[in-house]
Structure formats: C-alpha cells, structure tokens
Amino acid sequence: MRILEGEKVAKYFGGLAAVHDVNFHVNEGEIAGLIGPNGAGKTTLFNLISGALPLTSGRTRFKGETITGLKPNEICKRGIARTFQLIKLFGNMTVFENVFLASLFGVSKEINKPNAKKESLELLEFVGLSGVKTSPAKGLTLANQKRLEVARALATRPELLLLDELMAGLNPTEVAQAMELVIRIRDNGITVFMIEHVMKAIMSVCNRIMVLDHGVKIAEGTPEEITTDKKVIEVYLGED
C-alpha cells in the first residue's frame, strides 16, 4: 500500500522553482530515502508534506486521503511526524517535557496524563535518553538532541516518520547507532522516509531511494540501481 503519495508537487518562491513537478510515493513498511545535492529541494519537499509550507500546485495524499493544504498540527494528528534538519527542540523545557507534550497533543485520540507520561517514559527508554530526562533540552549533546527529536516525533504515534538529515554532524559510532534506531523504528511498524547525505547509511538501510536535483526527481529505485544510475553519478561528480 502506498502510504504517502505526491502528484505533480511543485513549490515556487517568486519565480524560482524549489520543487517542480515531482511525483513520488512511499510504500507502507519500507524505509525510503531521499538524496540529492545541497539545495535540491529535499527539505522543501518535506516541508510541503508536513504542511509547513503550502504547495504551489499538485497534491499530496496520505493513506489514500488528500492532505494538501492541511496545517502541520492536522497532518500530525493524521499520523505523519517529522524531525528537523536544524534542531527545533523546546530548549528550556526538560527532555521529558519535550516528549510528554508531543504525547499529549499529537495523538488523534484523547489521551490522559498518566498514559501520556507512561508512553513518554517508554519512548525515552526506546531512544536511550532515560538518564537525562530531567535535563533541559538545550544542554544535551548533538547526538542526544537528535534522539530527543526522534522521541518527540514518535510520541505523536505516527504511521510515517520523516527524518531530515538525522545523521548530519554525528561521528561514525553515532551514525551506526542512528541507523540501528531507524531500523528498530521500522520494525515497530512505522514507515520511514529519510533525507540523508551520509551515503553509507542510506544505502545500507533503505529499501528504495529517490534522487532530487534542482527540484526535479531525476532517479528512483533500489540502492543498487541508484548507485549505477548515470544521471545520479553525474550529479554527484564534484560532490564529496
């Protein structure tokens, strides 16, 4: 089942096309990847999906229902959660409060405080942050901040999780831990759609990968197909 679909999705800023005529889909239960050079429009695409930016044209559909034009909080309640490329934690609130809040507001069914508390603590355990749950979020290490963003997103009980450059700035050990976390998330029944620059990670973890360049989708397929695609290689020549 296609859990997420985009039809001729486009976003223009003035005359500039950030995303142009992109058709994409994510299958339920997979880990899908989104790669491309800097400025290709990847985060913009995520912003369009999550409702942070309005589409200029085109449609987005989640579980068969159109979600174009919905506000971020509505899309969250439908079951899509995300993390951000530039960390957007509630810095002066504690680690626990960050997750607790998401648990209280992000779920589609009313939840009472004790249950929300229980779920939050479980999630902190899941990502490995139980030890720092009373610390202010802004004091965490980068890796922990990323863990917290993931926990916060998961607290909204999503069916689809959008990860925006989760591994940026992490050392190799942390990257491995992050990869392992992503797999565990998928194994818990949550579809993952991730933007990444760390090629090793994305190639080993994803079932399917899409490539964007200058706002246009130039390739799509399995990791093997992508690494041998001529257009993709061209686009990345000159990239590290």
Binding site: N73, A81, R82, L89, F90, E97, F100, V107
Partner: protein
Amino acid sequence: MDRVKVITNRFFLQGLLFVVLLLLATMPLYVRPYLIILLTTIIMYVVITVSWAIFSGPTRYISLASAAFFGVGVYVSAMLGQALPLPVVIAVGGLVSLILALFIGLLTLRLKGMYFIIFTFGVSELIRHFLLWWETNFTGTVGRWVVAVDHTIVYYVMVVIFMMALLTGYLIKRSKYGLALRSIGEYEEAAAHIGINVTILKAMTFAVSAFFMGAAGAIMATRWTYIDPSIAFNPLFSFMPVLMAIFGGIGQLYGPILGAAIFALLEEILITEFPYYYMLLFGIILVAVILFLPNGLVGLIQKWRRGGLEG
C-alpha cells in the same frame, strides 16, 4: 535535597498567599479610605500585569494591546453603567475585550516577533485616536461621565478580579495548555508539528488575558468618574505591564505580582511630588533589569534562595 526545597517553596508561597488574601479581604475594616483607594490602584496594575503575563509570558509574544483591552472595559462601563447592574457591566466589559482580543488574535495569525508587537500597539492607538476623532466630530463632547460607586465596593471587585485572574493563570500554567504555550514560545513551528493548534491556542489565551483587563477597566471607570479616550486608552497601560512583568520576572506567576506591586507603590509615592522622576526611575530600572537581571526579581530570589540553602 530537591524535594525538600520544593515542599518548603510551595508551602511558603501558598501560606503567604493565604495570609495576603486574608489581609486584603479584611482591610477595609480597619484601614483609612485613602489606603483602600491606593490599594485599588495597585491591584489594578497587578491585574493588568498578571493578565498580560498569562499570554505574553510563556509565548514570548510581547503584546502592546493592553491599553486597548483595558480601555474597552472602561468605555463599556461608561456606556452601560447607568443601564445595568454593576456585576453585569463588569462582565460585559470583560467580554467585549475578550471578543476584541479574539478578533485581533485571529487576524494576526501570521505575524510574528516585531510585527506582532507593532501591530498590537497600532491597534491600541488606532482605537484611541478614532474614538477621540469620533467624539470630537460626532458626539460633540470629548469624554463621558461615569456613575460613581462606593470605593469599598470598587476595592472588593478589584480584589475578586485579581483572585480570578491569578487562579486562571495558575490553572493554565499547570495544565497541558500551559506547557503547550511555553513550547510556542520556544519553537512555534515545532509545536505545530506535534499536533498543537497554535492559532487557536494563542487566540484563546490572548482572549482570556484580555477578559481580565477589560473587567478591571470596567470597575476602574467607576472610580475615575470622568473618562475620555486619552485616559481610557493611555499608551502607558500598554507599556507599564511589560515593564512591571520584566522587572518582577516572567518565570514564576508571582513575578508580575511583585513587579506590579512595587512599581505601582512607587508611582503612588512619587507621582504627587516628583511626577517625572518616577517615570525616569522606571526607565533606569528597566534598563538595569534588562542588562543585569534578565530574569527579574524572580531570578534574584531564586538565586538567593539557592545560595541560602547551600550556604
């Protein structure tokens, strides 16, 4: 060690609050009328500041519309005072302010930061100048007379409004909405992405805070007996709550109370002899607080208490 601090902290504050409320309730029995009137003014400032802090504190949207909400209450009182009983007038004053705030809140859903601040100030001033122009050109006389009410009644009404505002602020702060409001102040975009309807929450909290300002205005009008647009919508009513809340410290609920009480007291003491000196003093204190005491008096008290326990 933390738990001991919290318990003594909470009991201390609750006990203090109870004593203060008891004192306030029984004051008119043994205190001179002049002091009652003074206290009414001080509590008025406290109400406006606490109300302001209910919205602007956690969300960090600095609103300069307090004068608009307060002034609307004043004018409602002036217009309805003769026709309706006092409790109704006050409630209506609060309600009209609330509706105005909802209207402004929903209009400004896209405005952030500086734009919001300037917009709220613009709305306040627009209302003031418009009423001034209207009264000059259409009603013939500028200003209105308000039916006077016994100063003891005014005092009690103000105390009740204060208690309601305080209780509301406390309940909001402790609820999940209080946490949500803080998250809006931290990172509004992220708050929206975890399911918080930021627009509705902001608008409703803004409206609640305006209600108490309007109610306070409605009762104050009966104390002043003569009002005009420049009295009712005086920009100072927009600026002072901000100063008082910053001075007191926004982190805790008692911060704005402390800041407003001290400033209002200072104003009453200095205004007859040294009217410009007290405003000058406010300015200096504000700059000093921003430079050296960013968390206000609350921050100072917290530091002192922490130091005292460890020392």
